[in-house]
Symmetry: C2
Subunit: 569 residues, 2 copies
């Protein structure tokens, strides 16, 4: 619904004033409309467009060089008055006559038509072109009765380009009518919009249904049907338009238009299927646009518009224009990139490693193997713990990550990598395949640890301990968790501290590691008394009290297995 | 809600592919992101940005000359993986190093951070800048903890402009961090969004309330309050940001951002008040933007972003860029228009009139006076008839229109206008002041009629009759109603036909008019049996059966009064 307004009856006027204030580099505000803020050559045909408000960027957003000279704005969903149309036309007139464009609605036909007659009487040559692109509103045989919807943009673009090119009024009118004859649109609506100050929507579509061919002010459509997939919707829209394809046409301009609350990503998803259907039909698409070009406040729905191109129309469709909404033409001198982009993961190459380090690398791969085996076995249990206060995918992520780490480690060993490289690529693979925050954390942990090792020197206890500290620093530097936040960090900190303390006191790495793993396990168990502090609102945070954190538990588990494997070597 | 999709789990990937297909003139699709489709100079710093999907145009819509070199896209509202970030960076790298920008969220900090470390290890210099503009998410003293919202656009714009200008990585990083330090945003949300395939919204705001400072993924805000007027909302947003205004700042860049279902006109209305408050605070606004720049699917809400400018930042903020969404810089060579636009209604001047025609003009003004008096008296009754199947404003419109017509006619008479001019301006004034379709129709009717008269020759019966026919033609040419549609036309057609028939058979104008007015009255009464056929869906159409059309009744009334006045002269 429309939520931001002061007095509803001043909504349209205030919105126009706000638009003109923001885009004063494009337009100047006049009573009932806007005119270009930049100089226009004397004698140029003026393209003046307009209609009701509530359809932005239709119509004021189309004003600028290469498109419209001025726009007239009525009240929300209501035609501007005859006087407003005539007034804005007089201000836009440069002596070359006026092409007056608007959607084909009774009120607009009347007010723009009467204004044109009034201006004629004053000696200004005005040609009116009502846009009639909506194939749902009348059959092709009576196309002149069709309504104007998102085809407005297309037809006005052609008119604006023709006028900017210096053509005279006869020619601009001919091309505008020709563009209108070759522009077709078909749309669907999912949900109605609410006028400023109104308590209820202007109309409604039954939940789960879509209205085919519904007009931009809620005018009756053809039928109501169940909402379909993007693929089927693309077929529905394109079939309807392709039925009117003129013989010999193999190029089209296209606009996939959102009505307000149907968002860009949805339009992009739909476009993949629309594009496929147009391609199947042997059509090349020229300068397509997807976005919001003719809206109906926050109505939910979309429409597809096609412009059947020939050389003449294509030149005008692709011509430069510069408006708040549609801009074409070179701002920068660019040329297409020609380098091939290889986005496949290349085969990793490794720095030369010493034989000793290669052996240690193999040793590390062996530790990773045990970890992967253990995590595979623990998948269900870790998932169960995680599900208490999370989405329950922790076990799956750990299993997937460690398996990928093992693959990568084995590949690196086979390629002759040293210890540091084996651990590093194992971490990378874990991060990339596990997904989620914990995958990235594990990747960071292993890669940071590897920074204390090398591919040439033998691994000393000091390096292992230093690696553990680097791992903790890495995780807390880029991760956000701190001690007490009920995350893996609650087990990692005591692990690292115990490892440092025990080795410093002269204990062997194996003994120190065992002590550290035990410390990690106690700390992981103790997370049961904590409440999560991080991240988004967690309605389940309280439910987790009395249960340990899955991430801390899995860290303790990995620490234990790794220690056992080191001891066995 | 999100309505258009095929498999929900492929929504983000498909949307990115569709975007890249539409805007292939800007971007090339790679796995997990897009890179510029145009050549980039070797050695240029690459600006790579990204984050979750569902925020279009953030982030892919910012790719192009003068802004980003590439964008990485995660799943809907989820960080891209470390591997994806690293992969896209490698493809965008031109040897000048990489500025990696993203919003300050745990998952993004982690994945972009880990990717940066991985790239460093590969010899690519990468600097990460998390955007922290959301003042609601942490106090100014701990600004580094703030989330990134619509300030993303602003900070990336500065980074892109600095890189495009050929600055080195140190300088680009410095300016990007500086821009981030000087960018603040504050937002409100009215209604949650629904993820593709989800049955329920991600979060909800109580009806009639707004959540202050709510994050773009539904992260907790500061508080919930009653929805306020546009004026109060502007105060709320600007006060919050002005509290952080750096000393000595008197110029700002500004972005008024809609989250998805809060539409452009609402933002423009809000802007009028925001602009007033910024002006009151002594701030000049440079290149403001209002629209959708960082969305959250179809979330309803908006945010205001300010960039505290100095000379260095202003140059970068206003620099040229060319992306699917934000474009700045000259496409056309233009200069500001300097002509004064006078949109006040000028004093009408009239062609020289004969004395006889001036007398007749006064006579016409006398007829209009009687009509205005009669319609004033009939206002309530006409409103009552109209209210049965319409909005009940017909009596008001007719009263207002005829009163304006009388004023205009008297003014014209005083200025020495002839008969044709008096009738024409009376019609124009009626159309302009009455409002609605019937106002425009009455304006058209009188002006068309005046075309059969002149300002020099005396009015003959033939001219009056011809005028009536022109009036009917005018009304049916531009109006859409036909006989039987239950409109004024149902009374006008028999009036004109009776006037023609009776005068042709030799009756006097007075007698013929009386007969024509009687025919109009009978026909108007007979509209009671008709059902409206025109215009939008009319749920009340059936209610109108058994009641005459208000427009036909008022035409018959005007015809009767006019005839009586003609007879009395």
């Amino acid at each position: 619904m429309t939520t931001i307004f002061d007095a509803p009856e001043e909504f349209a006027t205030t919105a126009l004033a706000g638009f003109a204030a923001i885009y004063s580099r494009y337009v100047r505000l006049v009573k009932g409309g806007v005119v270009r803020a930049t100089k226009v050559p004397k004698g140029k045909v003026s393209v003046v467009i307009g209609g009701g408000s509530g359809h932005y960027p239709a119509f004021a957003g189309y004003v600028g060089p290469g498109l419209a000279d001025a726009a007239v704005a009525g009240d929300v969903f209501a035609s501007p008055s005859t006087a407003a149309v005539a007034r804005v036309c007089r201000l836009a007139d440069q002596g070359g006559g006026i092409l007056l464009g608007f959607g084909n609605y009774a009120g607009d036909v009347l007010n723009f038509g009467v204004a044109a007659e009034r201006l004629h009487a004053e000696g200004i040559d005005v040609r009116i072109v009502p846009v009639t692109d909506d194939v749902a509103s009348a059959p092709a045989e009576t196309a002149a009765k069709r309504r104007g919807i998102a085809g407005d943009l297309v037809v006005f673009k052609i008119a604006g380009a023709a006028a900017e090119a210096g053509m005279d009024l006869d020619e601009v009118e001919r091309l505008t009518r020709y563009a209108n004859d070759r522009t077709v649109s078909f749309g669907v609506a999912f949900k109605g919009c609410t006028l400023p100050g109104a308590a209820d929507p202007l109309f409604s579509v039954p939940k789960g249904q879509m209205a085919l061919g519904l007009g931009i002010h809620g005018e009756p459509g053809i039928s109501e049907e169940d909402i379909v997939s993007a693929t089927d919707l693309a077929t529905l829209l394109t079939d309807k338009l392709l039925a009117e394809r003129p013989a010999g046409t193999n190029r089209v301009g296209a606009v996939l238009n959102g009505l307000g609350a149907t968002k860009y990503e949805e339009l992009f998803v739909l476009w993949t299927e629309v594009a496929a259907r147009l391609k199947d039909a042997g059509l090349d698409v020229v300068f397509p646009e997807a976005g919001e070009f003719v809206t109906s406040l926050d109505m939910q729905g979309c429409s597809l518009t096609l412009l059947w191109l020939d050389d003449e129309l294509e030149q005008l469709w692709t011509a430069a224009c510069d408006t708040p909404v549609l801009r074409r033409g070179a701002t920068f001198t660019t040329e297409p990139a020609t380098d091939a982009l290889d986005d496949t993961e290349g085969k990793l190459t490794f720095a030369a490693a010493s034989d000793a380090s290669k052996v240690e690398g193999k040793c590390i791969a062996g530790i990773v193997e045990k970890i992967a085996q253990t995590l595979k076995g623990a998948e269900e249990e870790l998932g169960r713990i995680d599900a208490i206060a999370g989405d329950g995918d922790h076990g799956q992520g750990m299993r997937r990550g460690s398996a990928a780490a093992l693959d990568a480690a084995n590949t690196a060993v086979a390629a002759g990598a040293g210890a540091a490289s084996v651990l590093a690529v194992a971490g990378d693979a874990w991060a990339d395949r596990a997904g989620g925050t914990s995958g990235a954390i594990w990747g960071l942990l292993l890669r940071s640890w590897s920074n204390a090792l090398s591919d040439t020197d033998a691994i000393e206890t000091d390096a292992v301990v230093k690696g553990a500290r680097l791992a903790l620093e890495g995780v807390t530097r880029l991760g956000r968790a701190r001690l007490g936040d009920k995350t893996l960090v609650d087990a990692l900190v005591p692990f690292v501290e115990a490892l440092e303390k025990n080795t410093a006191s002269g204990k062997s790495l194996v003994d120190s590691w065992a002590a550290a793993a035990a410390a990690a396990q106690s700390a992981a168990d103790a997370t049961a008394s904590l409440t999560p502090k991080l991240g988004r609102a967690r309605p389940l945070a309280e439910k987790s009290i009395g249960h340990p954190d899955a991430g801390a538990i899995s860290l303790a588990l990995v620490a234990k297995v790794a220690g056992e494997t080191i001891a066995a070597n």
